[in-house]
Structures are given as structure tokens and as C-alpha cells.
Amino acid sequence: MLSRFSDVLQTAADVLAPPATRLEDFEYHWKMVVNFYQNYEESSKVHFEDTRVPHHLHQMLQLIVDEEKEQQGGTVGPCLEAVIQRSVGVLDALSLLVSVDRPPGARYSALTLATSLLRRTRSPCLNSPHVYRPLQRMLLICNESPASPTEKEEVELLLTLCGLVRKEPGLANIFTTPFVEDTASLMMIPEDIKTLIPIKSKAQTPKKNPLFEVDMAPNPLKTVSIVRVNKDDNYVQSSSSAGDDNVSSKSHKTVYDDNDKFLLIDLLLSYLDSADNQVVLRACEGVLIVSSLAEDDIAALVTGCSPACERLAARLQRRYRALPPDLDPAAVDQLSITWAYVAQDFGDKNYNNFYGYRELTAFFSWLDYIDTLMKECHPIIACHLSRAFRTQFLEPAAEELAEPRSAILATAVLAKCLRVLDSQDLVNEFSSWLAGEGEGGAGEWGPLRALALRCLRGDHDLTLETLRFFEAVIEKGTEHSIDRLVLSRVCARAYRAAGPALQDERERLNDLSLARERERARESLATDERAGGLLAHADDNIHRVVNSFLLLLPRGVQSQPLADCEHYVHDAQRHYQLWLDITSTYNWPTEVTCADTASSTHSYDSRPEADLHLDDAFAPVHAHCEPKPSRGACGGAGGCAFTQALVLRSRDAPTTSEEEFDAGPFLKMLFKLLSTMPDQPYQVNLHLTSIISKLALLPHPNLHEYLLNPDLPTAKTTPTLFKTLQEVARRLTMEVPRIKNYKKVIENTRLQLMSEDPSYDEIGSHNQLVESLIVLEEFCKELAAIAFVKHQHQLQQQPHQHQR
């Protein structure tokens, strides 16, 4: 009451006397605050907001904001100067209010006032010790009592400080060891303020704060700057009053000892475990702001003096472990989560919509945060964080992958992780973890080998999920993982057999039945509009490839003998272009090579004939020579033809390599599963064939030759795609016609599968045999389309390739 009255008096006085200066106003309001506390009865129940104190403090804030508008050239106005000189110890007073919270509610207001001061002024002179020390004190005091009701306001102040550091990176120094005192002395409220605001309760005896155990150098304010700031800091001059305490001196120190701390990050980390998602969000934003600063020294502080990266990655692991083990793996795929989403949506009960949703979103939103951070942060931090991602999350996750009880879910979750990751560093880390890095030995393959092997154990659910995982690996296509999975196996071209096998091949060509088959193929081409009409201009060789696939199954058992594969051609075109883009930076050969001949006894490359006739079978797809298409030039068995030409010129083929071709665990697994298609569920076969067609699309000449050349001369023991398909086709051709009324059954099954009715899969009785027949039939069309599209692309790229 009294204070209000004096306010009125003041106003009255203003009318009579010359208007008070801003500083006088400022000092007046400060006096009113002090007055209040001098007369404050601690037993009083009155709430802070019901006193005049907030009014006076807000006036003081407003005066600082107003004077800044009139200040020129970044000079400091008298009110702020009074704070910097500490003739008005208002910030220390605020830190006391944070500590004692008297009257109740004072802590909340003190925190928001401090935040407002920093947010509403353009240069709040944070580099002055009388500004930053009280602010640090507030945060440290708050940190003593985690999960306090003012958490939101605390972290808001902290984020604001991060924002200021972001704008003036030199300010990071005030949060590093030489500038922050030990807990006890920093948290000590100055005696003069205690006299002005004599509140006896809650005498602050600082506990040992683990955040902040620093063995102090004798002079806490020595002018050592850990963070070098390159640009000239004009703000330094702007506050002459900061004097020697100025923290942005140019000297620097880049070696840290164990006691070095980066208080800003440590404080941020302490809010990550809050139960309030909004608080966590702010802390995340703070970490993002600080980590994305361009200064090397700050990045080095984050990685060297704080456990930030490790904590962030460990949190991912914790959330991963928190996933309920009986979560439906199908639910994983549907999610689309961004990191800030959790803060907003967890209040929405509607979205707590299935079992495990909360845990799942918590995990994926955190993954998204790390992914975002990786993309924005300083390279030093990125490097550290991706390593932590691997050691703290991926490597422990491998245990779950192997654990039978959790294998399916873990596989689904990790596949989804790989799909959603956008940071190339993390994708690379993922792939080197997955596929291993070393040379030789069983460990060489990383978890990949175990994943490949378990697809052969006959557990269809697990196989399916694992195949989906492999699909993700290929789709995400890092050079490393694709190399590990397949290319390392084919790069030596060891799949090609010589001598005897070629003999067989020649015999095969002379074989009458084969001749008949080819005759039939030619006939069918007459009506071959079904290949999308696109074969019209193609040459003989591509005809043969396409027909080898299209005629793999006898018409008698084909469900749709007259269907066209136009849409497969369209899809293949689209996907092939995508792959060309993705792999354009890869170090892939453009022609069939025998690179890395360690396992091969010959170097095919060196043969001139080979160069001329064979190795250009899959011509450079990236070379930019004469892009004008000129199909006529490619009519014959010329350079741009597919590898069928090989067979006819195979006299000078290489001599047999003694070593057997080793397709590696992944390709072996694919071929093995392919050969057992009739015994597997539709979904497994669908994903299996989809993986193989993705591989067939890759613009790698050796892989192309290995997968898509039906006439490739190989040793008997060497598995190839075409041989395996023939085997399956043979089995189906024998077994399917034994089914009663099999034509009708084929037709019905096809209709059901194409209807994509989800309930179909729930029906118990399936004719797996016929389903696999249909998958095979479609797969063959797809392969034919892929071969065709790649061939066509080559024609357009390399019209005169054979004349090289």
C-alpha cells in the first residue's frame, strides 16, 4: 500500500519538478524493491505477484529496453551501465530471489525477468561479470533441485544464453573453466545484497554439484580465452566498463585438462532427462545451437570437455531398450516422426493410439534429433557423435538382433532407422558397422553374415523381416555396403568359367532342343508387343536376354501368357535413373573388369580381344560421349550388345581359375531362398525378388553381367541367377500341373494376389506353390524389363561405342 502511495507521490512530483532522468527512475524503482524487502515479513503468505515488486522490476527492465533504442553506436545507456558497474545490484538480487523464492513466486518471476532482459535488448552486455555471474548463479542454484516447478523458465533462460553465444561466439568463454568459479563461490550471494534483501530462510549452503566440480585456478578471472574469435568483436569496446574482466581476449588455450568444463553444455544436458517434453525440446534446441557454431574451439569443448555426444547416443540406446518386446513390427513401418513432434503431440491423447506407440515415437524422435544434429553440427562434433552413435547404440543393438526373442522387432526397428536416417555420416556409420570394415576373417562381414545366414533357418517371419532389412540396406545404397554385400564378390569376375564350361556352352548351343527353344523364342517375338512393343528396335542379343527370361516358364503354366511388361519397363526406367544419380559419385568401373585379381589367376583386362569384344558388353554408362542416340549403328553383335556375344567368341577365353567362385553369404542366401521359392510364403518371395531386381538394376558392369546374362559361361558349381531360376521353373513346371484343375487355380490365385486385398493374407489356406509360380512369372518380366532398359540406356549413351 505504502509503495503504491509513494508511486503516486512520485508521479505528482514529476508534474512539478523537471522530469526525472531515466537513471533516476531506474534507481527509484530499485529503491522501492529494496524497501519492500527491508519491511518484508517472511511469515507473510502474500504471493509475489500480489506485491509491487514485479511492477518495479518490470519498470526497470522497460527502462533498459527504452534507453537502448536511443543509444547510438552500440554504447551502453546509464541504466544498463549501473547494472554493469553494480551500483544497482538488481541481477544479484534476482539471483537471490531465485534462491529463496520469497515471496512465493519470486523465483519464477526472477527467471522470466532475466530472460526478458536478454531477449528484449540487443546487447545486454553479457560479457560483463556483473551480468553473467548472477545469471550463472541462478542456473546453478536451479540445478541443485532438479525437476523443480520452474524447469521451463530455467531452460528458457539457458536457451536464451545459448542464443547470445550463438550471436557472439566469444561469449562461450564465460562458460568455460577459467571464467567460472567453483560452485561454492559462484553460488554465494554477495553479502551486500543479503543486507539489502535480508531473507533468513533457506540459507544457501551449496551442495556439491557434480556438474561443476572444478579445481580452481587461483584467479578465476584471468584473461584466458579458450574460444578464439576471429572476427573483431566490436561489442568488446562497447562495454568499456567490463574492463579487465573482459572475456574475449585474444589469447587462447586449446589444450584441456580433465577439470575443464563447458558449463553451458553441461547445464543443457541436465535438462534432457526432464519429464516435461517441452523442457527437453528447449534443451535439445540449446545443444543444436551450441553445436552448430562454426568455431573449432567450441566444438572441441563440446567433444573434449563434456560427455554430450555420449549422453545423446546413450539416450538413444535407452529408448531403444525401452521398446516393449511384444510390439507389433508392422507398426514400426508406419511411423513418421520428427524430433520436436514429441513435445507437441504427447499432450494429445488421441495419438496414444496403439500399444507401444509412446515408446516407439520416443525412440524415433530421438533418432531424428540426432540425425538433425548431425546435419547441422560442427564437423568435429559430427565425427564424435557418429562414433558414439555406433558404440553406444548400434553395437549394443546387435545383441538384440541376435537374441531370438527380440530378433524380429530389432530387425524391423533397425531397418526403419536406416530408412529414416538422412545424415550421410550416420548412414555410412551404419553401413560400416553392419558390413564390417576389416579384410578377411569371419568378422570381416560384421553383423551382415549372421543376418544372411539366419534367412536360411526356415523361420519365415524372421526371414521376411531380415529381407526387408536388406532391402533398406540396398535402397540406402552406400558404396561401402553394396560393395560388401555383392560387389566384392564379383569384381574379380571369378564367376566366369573357362575351358570345360565353355565347351559345355558350345555344345549347348548346338543342342537341337535348344535350337528349337530359340526358334520358338523368335516366333514369339513376332507377336512380341507384350514386351511393351519396345523390342521392335532391339538387336538380336537383347532379344535373346529378354526371351530367356520371358520364356523361362512354359506358356502352359504361365498365368498371363499374353500380358505385357510395359509397366515393368517404366518402373525400371525410373529406378535405373535414380541409381545412376546415386552412384554417379561412386568409384565404380564403367566396363566389365577383373579388378582386384587376388582370387583370380588371370587378368582378363589385358587381352586386346577381350577389350574389344567382351568387356564393352556393358559399356560406360556415365561417360558423356556422343549422347545422340543412333540405334542403327548398333545393329549387329557390336560393342553395345549384351554379353551374349561372348559365347560365340569364347575360343580365346581365359583358362580356368583353380579357385572356386565364392558368391559370399549374401548372394548365396539369395540364390538359396530363390531355389526354395515354392516352399516359402508369398511375402518372403516378394521381398526376395524385389531385392534381386534392385541388385540387377545397379549400374555396375560385373554385377550386371553376373546377374543378367543368361548365357554366361560358368563352372558347374558356380551359382547364377539364371541357373537358379531355371531350376525353380523346372520344379514348378513339374509340380503345378499335378494340381487338379491347375489352370483355374493359377487364374484364381493370380486374381487374388493382384486384388491386393489385405484380408487375403489372413486366410489360412494358400497355395504357396502356385503363388510362387506367379511371383516367378512376374519376376521374370521384371528382369527382362531391367535388362532391356539398361540396354536401351546404353544405346543412347554410346551409339558408336564399338568403334572406340
Binding site: D328, A330, N353, H766
Partner: protein
């Protein structure tokens, strides 16, 4: 509180153009004369009705200061609508629109509806950007345009609601895949049949993994 759809919006543009004020005016119907710098994202929400359907707008107000671009960018994803705001009394905020637009197009989904807003229309005397210029920019870049005042509330409702209408139309036209939450649209609880425990399962185009037989 049940709604048919939920749309995620973002508000972007230079610092001080009035993004936070627009949000406050829309959600709380009041005006805040001081500039409280936004650093992290601020959320707002309000229910509106379009075509007789309840639609919840979930609005993400971002920081305009250059220093905070790295966080701002990370919020673009998964937004169905964006209010791109400039200040008609500050030409530089208009000049920066191209940068904002590029940033937004790069980091958000291609179907996102963008509403261009020239704010502070109450300050006619200090106008630096003609209304026609705003219109021309919007036309050139395929945006919807409006001048507003967060102070007087002129056109504020319209700006938010018209954006929602555009999104709604796109849904009707089938442009937005509403089943993909990455598009910034969610179907309300009474529309989706995902009851408790009924996770996934009826995914489009096929069976749940886990197989049959």
C-alpha cells in the same frame, strides 16, 4: 476436442516481422507490443471449422534471426502449410523472401501450401512495400497472398483459415496423401479406425509382414 483433421503449420520470415504476434492474435486474440525474440520453436493450436468439419491447426512459430536458422530449418519437415511473413514497413524483409522460399521448398514437402503475408498493414504511413509488389511476388511463385495486421487483427483469421482451406481442397483432390504423416496432416481419432491394439495391419497395398500360412 475431437477433430476430423489436424494440420501442421509453420510460420517463417525475418525477425521482427510479427510472426509471434500473428500467432498470438490468432490463438489468444490479443496483441503484444514488445518484441520478445523467439529462439526455439513456439507452439500454438486452435480449432477451426471448414466444410462443417472440425480441423485442428497445430502451429509452429519459428525464429527469424539468421543465427537460429539451423534450428528453424529443422522444423520445416512435415508441415502442411506455411505462413511466409514480411513486414510492409521494412523493405529488407520483403527482399529476403526468395531466400526463405528456397529454404522452405528445400526442407519441406513439395505439396506444402504457402501463404505470403505482408504484416503490419496498420502502419500505412510507414509502408515501404506496395501491396501490388506482394501480389506480384505471390503470383510469380504460386503463393496465396494477404496483408494483415497482428495489431488490429485485420485479416489474421482469414490468413490462417484460407491456408487451411487450400490444404483441405488439396486433400479432396487427392494431392495430399493423408495416410502419410510426413505430409503434416493427421486424421482425427473418429476417422481412423486404428483402435487400441489395432496397430498397422491394414497397411496399404498388402499384408502385414509376419506372413500367412
Amino acid at each position: 476436442m475431437a477433430y476430423a483433421y489436424l494440420f501442421k503449420y509453420i510460420i517463417i520470415g525475418d525477425t521482427g516481422v510479427g510472426k509471434s504476434c500473428l500467432l498470438l492474435q490468432f490463438t489468444d486474440k490479443r496483441f503484444q507490443p514488445v518484441h520478445d525474440l523467439t529462439i526455439g520453436v513456439e507452439f500454438g493450436a486452435r480449432m477451426i471449422t471448414i466444410d462443417g468439419k472440425q480441423i485442428k491447426l497445430q502451429i509452429w512459430d519459428t525464429a527469424g534471426q539468421e543465427a537460429f536458422r539451423s534450428i528453424t530449418r529443422s522444423y520445416y519437415r512435415g508441415a502442411a502449410g506455411a505462413l511466409l511473413v514480411y513486414d510492409i514497413t521494412r523493405r529488407d524483409t520483403f527482399n529476403h523472401l526468395t531466400t526463405w522460399l528456397e529454404d522452405a521448398r528445400q526442407h519441406s514437402n513439395s505439396n506444402m501450401v504457402i501463404m505470403l503475408i505482408g504484416n503490419k498493414s496498420d502502419l500505412e504511413s510507414r509502408r515501404e512495400v506496395k501491396k501490388e509488389e506482394g501480389e506480384a511476388f505471390a503470383r510469380e511463385h504460386g503463393l496465396v497472398f494477404m496483408e494483415t495486421s497482428a495489431k488490429t487483427a485485420a485479416n489474421v483469421e482469414e490468413a490462417f483459415i484460407n491456408t487451411a482451406k487450400e490444404i483441405y481442397e488439396k486433400i479432396q483432390e487427392g494431392v495430399f496423401d493423408i495416410n502419410n504423416e510426413a505430409n503434416g496432416i493427421k486424421i482425427g481419432p473418429q476417422h481412423s479406425n486404428a483402435g487400441a491394439g489395432g496397430a498397422g495391419g491394414a497397411g496399404a497395398g498388402g499384408a502385414p509382414p509376419g506372413g500367412c500360412c
